[in-house]
């Protein structure tokens, strides 16, 4: 079947052009990236660098103009339950309770009622929403909504989680808390994670590897390995090694030279 030794996700020569009224907008150009199984990769870059487009291509919600994305060796064509997606705007179904939201994907997959209940229960507990299982989304705070969305994505048991600025709309304190919870969850339920953000601290804190993108055209500008140990606690966040990496990524994001295209990981 598929080559288990190969990368979990492979993006090869991806280009995406949007035709606007009077000109073409190159959202992505020459994007090549391999992501290993159970790797946590963050993608950071200025607005317009195509990071969300890249995620949509991986999710199968958009098709690349040229090139291809592979998941476990198979070319991506359309969305699938092997890739869970978490959106910045939560995208919970407002007419369903937390429990029904989490069960949605299982119901679509035809999972029996008792098993659905059990699995939803497990993931609702994992994100700490047991008390709110029968609440409607309108009763939840932003952070709780996003935790519910994470439980919903986990429930269908995807091997990949694609997260598009999931904590972008939250306040700084809630963000830090959710970052730690996400890493905690990830360490217990290992998945390959592609996490889009515009926050340099967040990108470094979470990742095995930070991919820095540049705009006009959207492309990979730099790749930074983060050799910090997990679990990442507050000590890690305040360590000089973290600061050093953070400064490096910061420089890469905010002082980009046009035309510099780094393809491979550097250190």
């Amino acid at each position: 079947m598929t080559d288990t030794a190969g990368p979990k996700i492979s993006i090869s020569g991806v280009r995406k052009v949007f035709s606007l009224k009077d000109e073409d907008f190159v959202a992505l150009d020459h994007v090549d990236l391999d992501i290993a199984d159970n790797e946590f990769v963050t993608v950071v870059g200025p607005s317009g660098c195509g990071k969300s487009t890249l995620m949509n291509i991986l999710a199968g919600l958009e098709e690349p103009t040229a090139g291809e994305a592979f998941v476990a060796g198979t070319s991506v064509s359309g969305p699938g339950p092997d890739r869970g997606v978490i959106f910045q705007q939560y995208a919970l179904f407002p007419w369903l309770t937390v429990r029904k939201n989490v069960e949605f994907g299982l119901k679509v997959a035809g999972v029996s009622k008792t098993e659905r209940r059990e699995r939803a229960e497990h993931f609702i507990e994992m994100v700490g929403l047991s008390q709110f299982a029968d609440a409607l989304p309108k009763m939840l705070s932003g952070g709780m909504k996003q935790r519910c969305a994470i439980a919903r994505a986990y429930a269908v048991n995807p091997s990949i989680l694609l997260m598009d600025e999931p904590f972008g709309a939250l306040d700084a304190l809630t963000r830090v808390k959710l970052q730690e919870q996400l890493l905690d969850t990830w360490s217990r339920e290992q998945r390959t994670v592609v996490f889009i953000t515009h926050d340099v601290d967040e990108a470094v804190f979470l990742a095995n590897r930070v991919v820095v993108m540049a705009a006009r055209p959207g492309r990979i500008y730099d790749v930074v390995d983060v050799n910090l140990p997990y679990p990442r606690t507050e000590d890690v966040r305040l360590s000089p090694e973290f600061t050093e990496l953070r400064n490096r990524v910061w420089h890469s994001v905010y002082h980009q030279q046009s035309g510099n295209v780094a393809g491979t990981a550097s250190h």
Binding site: A59, V85, A91, L92, F93, W95, V108, L136, K138
Partner: protein
């Protein structure tokens, strides 16, 4: 006193004051019947069975027209929102008939369909249909793309997305359309009965006008208003039950 009780109290004061002003105007020489005269007329009409007969005739027409109109509007609105071909085919006709007050079609309908129940019900049908079809269509096209994408990435195919995302997401729009449609249907009905009917609240007023019977006209006006209000409140209640999940801003 809670905010709500205070609101009800103000409402009650307003109603009593309104009736008081009406009474004063009637006594001061304006050609109006006094409230007791109207109550008396209502009692007389009730014991003669006239009110029951009129209400039954009017409600029957409006409900048949409204239910058929909404039942036709919802699928058509969904088709228009979901398939651009349906939109292209239906839209010119809907936009055209929307600019014509349904009542203006009554002369045509009377000539074509005679003076039975069918012409009146058809005009009411049209009134309800037009109001509901447009808001259903609006509801379908304004469904949040992110919700559709969220369903897709969870493995849902088109049919499931339609039933489990598009339909619930458009329900608030449909109910608003039904409320507007009911108001429009009720208004059209009464006017249609003024022109061509043998029973009904509008017909009764028309008759009373000939005999200069002001109390009967007042009775009919009050019943029309109260019934309209009751039907609107029933739909509002259904709306709050069905769309209570909405985040109110």
């Amino acid at each position: 006193m809670s905010k709500r009780t205070r609101m009800y109290l103000y409402n009650a004061i307003s109603i009593v004051a309104g009736i008081g002003i009406w009474w004063l105007l009637a006594l001061s020489g304006l050609q109006l019947p006094t409230p007791p005269e109207v109550v008396e007329a209502a009692a007389r009409m009730w014991s003669a069975g006239i009110i029951q007969e009129d209400v039954l005739a009017s409600l029957q027409r409006v409900l048949i027209g409204f239910i058929l109109g909404s039942a036709a509007a919802i699928p058509v609105g969904f088709l228009m929102g979901w398939y651009s071909i349906a939109r292209g085919l239906f839209e010119p006709w809907i936009q055209f008939f929307r600019t014509i007050p349904p009542l203006a079609l009554l002369p045509l309908v009377l000539v074509l369909l005679g003076i039975g129940e069918v012409p009146k019900v058809s005009v009411i049908f049209l009134a309800a249909f037009l109001a509901c079809v447009i808001s259903t269509f609006q509801g379908v096209v304004s469904v949040d793309r992110t919700l559709i994408n969220a369903a897709r990435v969870l493995g849902a195919k088109d049919g499931t997305i339609f039933a489990r995302v598009v339909v619930p997401a458009s329900t608030p729009f449909i109910l608003v359309g039904m409320r507007v449609g009911l108001g429009s249907a009720w208004a059209t009905l009464v006017a249609a009965e003024l022109l061509a009917a043998q029973a009904g609240l509008g017909f009764r007023m028309q008759q009373a006008q000939i005999y200069y019977d002001l109390p009967t006209i007042f009775v009919s006006i009050v019943i029309i208003g109260v019934l309209g209000l009751v039907m609107d409140r029933l739909l509002l209640f259904a709306e709050s039950r069905l769309t209570g999940w909405q985040e109110r801003r």
